[in-house]
């Protein structure tokens, strides 16, 4: 958790950053994804002599059939949450707003450049981020792409005879290959990239609970989403008819 200059948690000011629907979707997403990875990797390794350990994992689950059922249950949850997200995006005000905020902009390209120069020590200041940083947007769109590919190829593997009617060029073998490749990419991104940003990053270690309560402290807001912070303060000021004091994050 970010250092808060000796301020006790209960004294710190928090901003509600994510609503309940958003958090439910995220929770279902990570639960299903981890289930799919835990069951999917041994399924992929089964029958390959160099991965004999996978048999031990299968034994833990009872049988390969049980593991397949769990994997498909995880897949069903992922599909449902994806559909849920589509409805959320289209039919809720919050969903539409979040979607628009997540769209890539020119500023993101500028932010990447500035941040890269900052990493190299060529600039002293980090870019000022809005509601979503470019790497958070990347996370979102990577999951979007990943879901399309994983669900698409997964359905080909799950229902090959149906898939062959509509996408005959997309063979089962190719589906299996792409499914495995995309899963590797998703797992690596999740455990290396995403976990670094939300867990292992020295500013966040051992992790943030934003995913749970949806709240972010003023310090974190200023550090990572300063433009959103200003926006929120300004909005609060306007609503109360007071002068804003961005430094304190409070209204006067």
């Amino acid at each position: 958790m970010r250092q808060t200059s000796g301020i006790k948690a209960e004294e710190r000011e928090f901003f509600q950053r994510f609503g309940l629907q958003f958090r439910v979707q995220h929770t279902l997403l990570f639960l299903s994804t981890i289930t799919l990875i835990v069951t999917g990797v041994p399924l992929w390794c089964m029958g390959r002599p160099e991965y004999s350990w996978s048999q031990a994992v299968v034994n833990t689950f009872g049988s390969i059939e049980t593991m397949r059922y769990i994997h498909r249950a995880g897949a069903a949850v992922l599909i449902l949450v994806s559909i849920y997200h589509l409805f959320y995006t289209v039919f809720t005000k919050e969903g539409r707003r979040e979607f628009i905020e997540l769209l890539p902009r020119q500023k993101d390209v500028r932010d990447v450049t500035i941040n890269s120069l900052y990493f190299l020590g060529l600039l002293k200041y980090r870019p000022s981020f809005g509601r979503y940083t470019y790497y958070e947007k990347f996370d979102y769109w990577a999951v979007y792409w990943g879901c399309v590919i994983m669900i698409g190829t997964g359905l080909v593997l799950w229902f090959p005879e149906v898939a062959a009617k509509y996408v005959p060029w997309f063979t089962y073998a190719l589906g299996a290959e792409v499914h495995a490749d995309e899963a590797i990419l998703a797992a690596l991104s999740l455990f290396i990239w995403h976990f670094y940003n939300v867990h292992f990053n020295p500013s966040r270690f051992p992790g943030t609970l934003v995913w749970w309560h949806g709240k972010m402290s003023r310090e974190e807001m200023i550090h990572d989403h300063v433009l959103e912070y200003y926006k929120k303060v300004l909005a609060q000021t306007k609503s109360k008819g007071q002068k804003a004091d961005p430094q304190s994050g409070t209204t006067m």
């Binding site: 992929w44 089964m46 029958g47 941040n115 890269s116 900052y118 990493f119 190299l120 020590g121 790497y135 990577a142 593997l157 090959p160 005879e161 149906v162 062959a164 009617k165 005959p168 060029w169 063979t171 089962y172 073998a173 190719l174 299996a176 290959e177 792409v178 490749d181 995309e182 590797i184 990419l185 690596l188 991104s189 290396i192 990239w193 670094y196 990053n201 020295p202």
Partner: protein, 659 residues
């Protein structure tokens, strides 16, 4: 004296055989019979020359098998019709099927048949079939040969085999004719062929229904062929004659038409006298429809899918046979003997009017014509419920319905022709050469990618496969096999100390031995000598070391489709579930194709089944590569980002401490 009605022409009595029957019991003198025979022969030869049909060329419509109580005739010294056979004569000669049967059946027409026309370059080769496999373990050779233009096979002449030599090696599993009747032109073979005779079409090999027809017995057809007793082979195969001696054992100056009683090794035929009636006629058990047992002699195979099923009695037979059909119910022909091979596109290559409707589809699927074709011979019309139509477009019927059930690895398979099955002293070891592996799913109609080029449009079906191993000369990136005589002389000397396993398996050669052999071969063959084995081409590089070239077209495996045994529908691939093919363990995609090679370091090499037929080729490869590169590219950028972030944090920390 009863004059024989003419066999053909205006006023001909179409049933001369009945006339023969009437003659049983008559007391014609031998001279009379001979005279009648000559008259018949005269008319026959005239009509035959004029292309007139003979008595047996066309059926009169009767389903009954015609009686074949007939005189037997020998071949004369000048290769014409000779004397009638007299079993108790002073000099007994083997009867000639050609001159005996040609009395009523146009030999020239029969010769056009698929079994006999391989040497005719005008005959379309059709779908690749089983080649003749020449193998020499001591020389580390197994090479597919064929007179037909099947891609991947070599003409026997390319490896230095004359028709005479080819016949002596492979004639054992032919019904005669073809190369067996080609006149020798090599000086040293002309004399030998005068002694041995030609291997004329042995009508009895297929049409003799007698259980005494001996093709593979100790004194039967195959043994006579190996003894160069070509002229005697047909007689030796039938139930009422036996042959002793060997044409190969007598000098080429020996005259078989003026036999020397002192030449003990000379071939001699003996007839069972009781087989001849008083008119010196023999009752042959000739049948129009060839019995399955006759086909099996040349068309059997043995798959080592499961050790307990290696015995024939333990394995099931083709479902069509179980249902009561015979081989010839589908593989039909008329007097031209242009037999239906039975593949889907055959009508494009065959003049047989039944070619289009005697394939799997011909009997089982309707094409919506005026007459109902589907369901012929009681064939059930498949519903293929739940099967996506793309399967029928991309797969042959045999892919799911024929051949041994595919396992995780291909299995060694023997065939009659390749392994001399049904002949004396066959090595029954599983590992015996030549090494044919099956089932391999590959594009129908040719060889894999390397040789097919753009014609990958063929359906995928099961195949038998052989990985050629031979010594050749590399010219303009083309490999020409070196004549076997040269290889035997040069490589045989280099490999003299190789130990041959009792199983008949490869002796296993080292790379050093290959280098030694290639260095010895190059000057002898006047070119850059190379060795092809296990899908690789071995050649010497500039420094004299051995270089390997993978997937050279000359090293591509030769494949031919599996048609039988057809399994019952319930035992078809996919009948239980899609996972029969669509699962990570499924052999159809992920089975291991054994790459056979005598080269020691390459023992146990396999290729994935998919490599043999390319799944939607370029699309598959491109998509596959895209995702591989995506993983590498994205993860590289993300890790760089993380490292950049950490680097900056460390730098800031150090700067802070320095202050």
């Amino acid at each position: 004296m009863a004059e024989p009605p003419p066999a053909t022409g205006a006023g001909a009595n179409p049933d001369r055989i009945l006339w023969s029957e009437q003659r049983i019991g008559s007391t014609l003198k031998k001279e009379t019979v001979a005279t009648v025979g000559w008259i018949l022969a005269f008319f026959t030869s005239i009509y035959a020359q004029e292309g007139q049909e003979l008595l047996g060329d066309r059926s009169d419509g009767s389903r009954a098998t015609p009686l074949h109580l007939i005189p037997l005739y020998a071949e004369s010294k000048d290769a014409e019709k000779g004397e009638q056979i007299e079993p108790d004569g002073e000099f007994v000669t083997p009867f000639s099927t050609r001159w005996t049967c040609a009395e009523c059946h146009s030999y020239g027409l029969v010769k056009k048949g698929w079994h006999f026309n391989s040497v005719d370059s005008n005959v379309p080769p059709g779908r690749p079939g089983e080649p003749w496999l020449y193998f020499a373990p001591k020389l580390c050779i197994q090479i597919p040969l064929s007179y037909r233009q099947w891609p991947g096979t070599f003409r026997p002449a390319q490896v230095g085999l004359t028709e005479f030599q080819f016949t002596r090696i492979f004639g054992r599993h032919t019904p005669g004719g073809g190369p067996g009747e080609v006149q020798a032109t090599e000086a040293d073979e002309i004399g030998r062929q005068f002694v041995s005779g030609t291997l004329e079409i042995n009508c009895l090999a297929c049409h003799n229904a007698h259980h005494g027809q001996d093709m593979g017995g100790p004194g039967g057809y195959a043994v006579q062929v190996s003894r160069q007793n070509f002229r005697w082979a047909a007689a030796a195969s039938c139930e009422f004659a036996s042959v002793k001696g060997s044409a190969a054992a007598v000098p080429e100056t020996y005259d078989p038409f003026l036999p020397d009683p002192d030449e003990k090794n000379a071939p001699r035929v003996t007839y069972q006298k009781e087989a001849f009636n008083e008119n010196k006629e023999v009752l042959l058990q000739i049948v129009r429809e060839v019995p399955n047992q006759r086909c099996y002699y040349c068309h059997s195979d043995l798959c080592y899918s499961q050790p307990e099923k290696a015995e024939k009695w333990a394995s099931d037979e083709d479902i069509h046979l179980t249902a009561g059909l015979k081989c010839v119910d589908c593989h039909r022909n008329g007097v031209e003997h242009n037999i239906v091979r039975g593949y889907a596109e055959e009508s494009a290559n065959s003049s047989n009017p039944l070619a289009a409707t005697s394939s799997c589809e011909g009997c089982h699927l309707s094409e919506g014509e005026d007459q109902p074709q589907a369901g012929r011979l009681g064939a059930p019309v498949p519903k293929h419920t739940g099967l996506p139509p793309s399967h029928l477009k991309k797969l042959t019927c045999t892919a799911c319905h024929s051949g041994p059930w595919p396992g995780k690895k291909t299995i060694l398979t023997k065939t009659s022709r390749a392994h001399r099955l049904g002949t004396p002293n066959v090595n029954k070891a599983q590992e015996v050469l030549p090494h044919i592996v099956s089932p391999v799913f590959a594009r129908q109609g040719g060889q894999p990618q390397a040789q097919l080029g753009d014609s990958l449009a063929g359906k995928i079906g099961p195949h038998k496969v052989i990985w050629p191993a031979y010594w050749g000369i590399l010219e303009d990136d083309q490999v020409k096999p070196i004549a076997l005589g040269v290889v035997e002389k040069v490589v045989g000397k280099v490999f003299a100390d190789l130990e041959l396993p009792a199983t008949g398996d490869w002796p296993k050669i080292t790379k050093e031995k290959i280098i030694e052999a290639l260095k010895a071969l190059s000057p002898a063959a006047a070119g850059e000598a190379v060795y092809v084995a296990g899908g690789k081409l071995y050649r010497l590089d500039g420094s004299g070391e051995l270089a390997e070239e993978l997937d050279h077209p000359a090293a591509a495996p030769y494949m031919w489709p599996i048609a039988h045994n057809v399994r019952p529908a319930a035992q078809s691939l996919g009948a239980r579930r899609c996972e029969d093919c669509h699962s990570p363990e499924a052999s159809f995609f992920f089975g291991k194709v054994c790459v056979d090679s005598p080269v020691q370091t390459k023992d146990g090499v396999f290729r994935e089944m998919m490599d043999m037929y390319e799944v939607d080729g370029p699309v598959y490869v491109r998509v596959n590569w895209f995702f591989k590169l995506l993983i590498i590219g994205v993860m590289t950028l993300l890790i760089l980002h993380i490292l950049g972030d950490l680097y900056r944090r460390v730098m800031l920390l150090l700067a802070k401490r320095a202050k």
